[in-house]
């Protein structure tokens, strides 16, 4: 009688572990990127920008853990400094998307009618262009550079957050506690701030981690195309671009920055999945 029960408990504990595993792995990988970024601000094994042509294209060694590139720069150091770049792009671009997008989404859900229609059709229009394409268009207008690529990715994020927060907010607006708040004499603005926003934060947080990953990818793509971060500032995307020339003779040049992008994006996606599971009210407050 007690045997199958304990077995079941074990199963339950295991499912719980797997549920948290996403979050744990995601948090560790994301944490690694953040640590690299902060550490590189005060210390790197070598300089990430100084050229040392004499020691160019070296294989990984004790001196240069991940080797050096065609200009003799230490790849590990470049990846660490590149993490800074990726982080800043991600944070700023996602912030633009969250503030403007969530604001528009909440506004649309609160007003309904024409306002909603207008906001949503506008974001459908923007949404129809793939991230990189719209970024290329924006940089084509504003000129290449780190700031403009951040702006481009940020603008791309606005409709993403507008749509997701409008959808989530509409669901909240149909709840009875909103009706209760109206009956208590609260206006749309107060209801939005006090009831709607707190109840959609989990959705926004999850989307933010995923958008963060997409932003890092987009920045890498833009830099790879040469319209993102400009030299000599290191960027994972530009490192890939540089490595392309030597892809056949020195493949490891592409592998390390590629792996950095891969791990950062994977980490953020797993963090998003993990957060979604943890924040899901059905799992934490089932009756």
């Amino acid at each position: 009688m007690s045997e199958p029960v304990s077995k079941n408990q074990l199963m339950a504990a295991l499912t719980l572990m797997t549920r948290y595993r996403n979050f744990v792995i995601g948090a560790v990988l994301t944490g690694l990127v953040i640590v690299c970024a902060f550490l590189s601000a005060v210390w790197t094994p070598h300089s990430a920008v100084e050229l040392a042509i004499r020691s160019r294209l070296q294989l990984p060694s004790l001196e240069h853990w991940l080797g050096t590139d065609h200009l003799g720069r230490d790849i590990l150091s470049m990846i660490m400094v590149g993490a800074q770049n990726s982080l800043i792009v991600g944070i700023v671009a996602v912030s633009i998307g969250v503030f403007l997008g969530v604001g528009l989404g909440l506004w649309a859900a609160a007003k309904r009618g024409w306002t909603e229609e207008l906001i949503m059709r506008f974001s459908d229009f923007t949404f129809a262009f793939p991230a990189v394409l719209s970024a290329i268009m924006i940089t084509a207008i504003l000129g290449p550079g780190a700031v403009n690529s951040i702006l481009a990715i940020g603008i791309y994020n606005i409709p993403v957050f507008a749509r997701i927060s409008r959808g989530a907010a509409n669901a909240i607006w149909s709840r009875e506690y909103i009706m209760a708040a109206k009956a208590a004499g609260k206006g749309r603005f107060r209801i939005t701030v006090e009831h709607v926003l707190p109840n959609i934060t989990s959705v926004i947080v999850v989307q933010a981690t995923i958008s963060f990953a997409i932003a890092i990818l987009a920045e890498a793509a833009l830099s790879y195309l040469g319209i993102g971060t400009q030299p000599p500032e290191p960027s994972w995307g530009r490192m890939l671009n540089d490595a392309q020339t030597y892809a056949t003779i020195k493949p490891y040049l592409a592998i390390f920055p590629g792996a950095a992008i891969f791990l950062a994006v994977l980490g953020l996606n797993m963090l998003g999945d993990g957060l979604r599971d943890i924040l899901d009210p059905r799992l934490t407050r089932g009756r």
Binding site: M1, P4, V5, N8, Q9, M11, A12, G286
Partner: protein
């Protein structure tokens, strides 16, 4: 031997708060043509019992005991064999006629499906049978209705379609889980009448699960009252309603507002209540599940399994209680006082 025999059925669910005994030591049997009502509040285990009979328990559930249908132990069957039983020898009507029908399939497809699977009928045979069934459950212009989608029907009509589906393979046992709870009261009467007629016509056995004592009183021959996963009282409907023997049954009965009682106009009578809350399954005492809400309970009740007593001299009316005499005398005095 009875058609359906349930013996010492136990269902344990693994929850985040530890194992919860959703059904404990439940036994009952049912013969062809008999109707059994299971009544109780949310979390009393009445729906879990139905799901256990169908082998449809959630993944975290473990069942022990025995369920035998015509001599065959259902708990010993594997999933494939159980599929042959479900919808064929035991079928079920659910509470929500809105969500239990697939919105993307026509009525015809959903009614004929079990017959195609279990009875090996051809499509034409099944369609003809479906028309006959829909007519029997009172759906007008049944032939046209076969090509309708669920959203084109009203709630009452959908529940009729659900009943037609449940009947399509002439089951031995029909389980109806709150079949009228989602329906309006004037429609509820129609559906209950229909179910009762069909049962007496076909001679199948019916298990009607409901929280509504009125629905139970009017529809079934025998009643099983459940509380906290345990059967606390069972007996023929007339006897049970006449001699409420278990303190929980007494409390439940007294708590229902009764139509025609004169209500507020005559005197400000209060409804009698059962103190406390409907319990969490994981927190129930090992002995009598009702012990912590029962005003007759003493220290012994929570720790000791209640004993089963015959009530009065009515055949088959039994109560599981350590203090049946106290409960009985209380009813006697309250009746004398009324």
């Amino acid at each position: 031997m009875a058609l359906l025999e349930v013996k010492n059925l136990d269902v344990t669910l693994a929850t985040s708060r530890g194992p919860a005994r959703a059904v404990r030591n439940l036994s009952f049997d049912l013969d062809r043509g008999q109707t059994l009502g299971i009544v109780g509040e949310s979390g009393c285990g009445k729906s879990m019992t139905a799901l256990a009979l169908l082998g449809l328990l959630p993944e975290n559930g473990v069942t022990t005991g025995s369920i035998s249908l015509g001599g065959q132990d259902l708990l010993a069957l594997d999933e494939d064999a159980m599929c042959g039983v479900r919808g064929n020898r035991i079928s079920m009507i659910f509470q929500e006629p809105m969500t239990s029908l697939n919105p993307l399939h026509t009525i015809g497809r959903q009614v004929t499906e079990p017959m195609l699977i279990h009875q090996g009928m051809t499509r034409d045979e099944a369609r003809a049978e479906a028309v006959r069934l829909l007519e029997r459950v009172g759906i007008a212009s049944a032939r046209q209705r076969l090509d309708n989608y669920p959203h084109q029907l009203s709630g009452g009509q959908r529940q009729r379609v659900m009943i037609a589906m449940a009947l399509s393979c002439k089951p031995d046992v029909l389980i109806a889980d709150e079949p009228t709870t989602a329906l309006d009261v004037t429609i509820q009467g129609q559906i209950l009448d229909l179910i009762a007629d069909l049962v007496s016509e076909s001679g199948m056995a019916l298990i009607l699960i409901s929280h509504d004592l009125g629905v139970i009183a009017e529809t079934v021959d025998r009643v099983l009252v459940m509380y906290g996963g345990a059967g606390v009282e069972t007996g023929p409907t007339a006897s049970l309603f006449q001699h409420l023997a278990h303190p929980y049954t007494q409390g439940l009965f007294a708590a229902v507002p009764k139509l025609g009682s004169g209500g507020k106009g005559k005197s400000r009578t209060r409804l009698s209540t059962i103190p406390g809350l409907v319990p969490e399954l994981a927190d129930l005492p090992p002995g009598c599940t009702f012990a912590d809400r029962c005003d007759l309970a003493d220290d012994k009740c929570a720790g000791t399994m209640p004993t089963v007593h015959d009530v009065a001299n009515d055949a088959g009316h039994r109560v599981a209680c350590l203090k049946p005499d106290d409960a009985k005398s209380r009813m006697a005095t309250s009746e004398a006082g009324a």
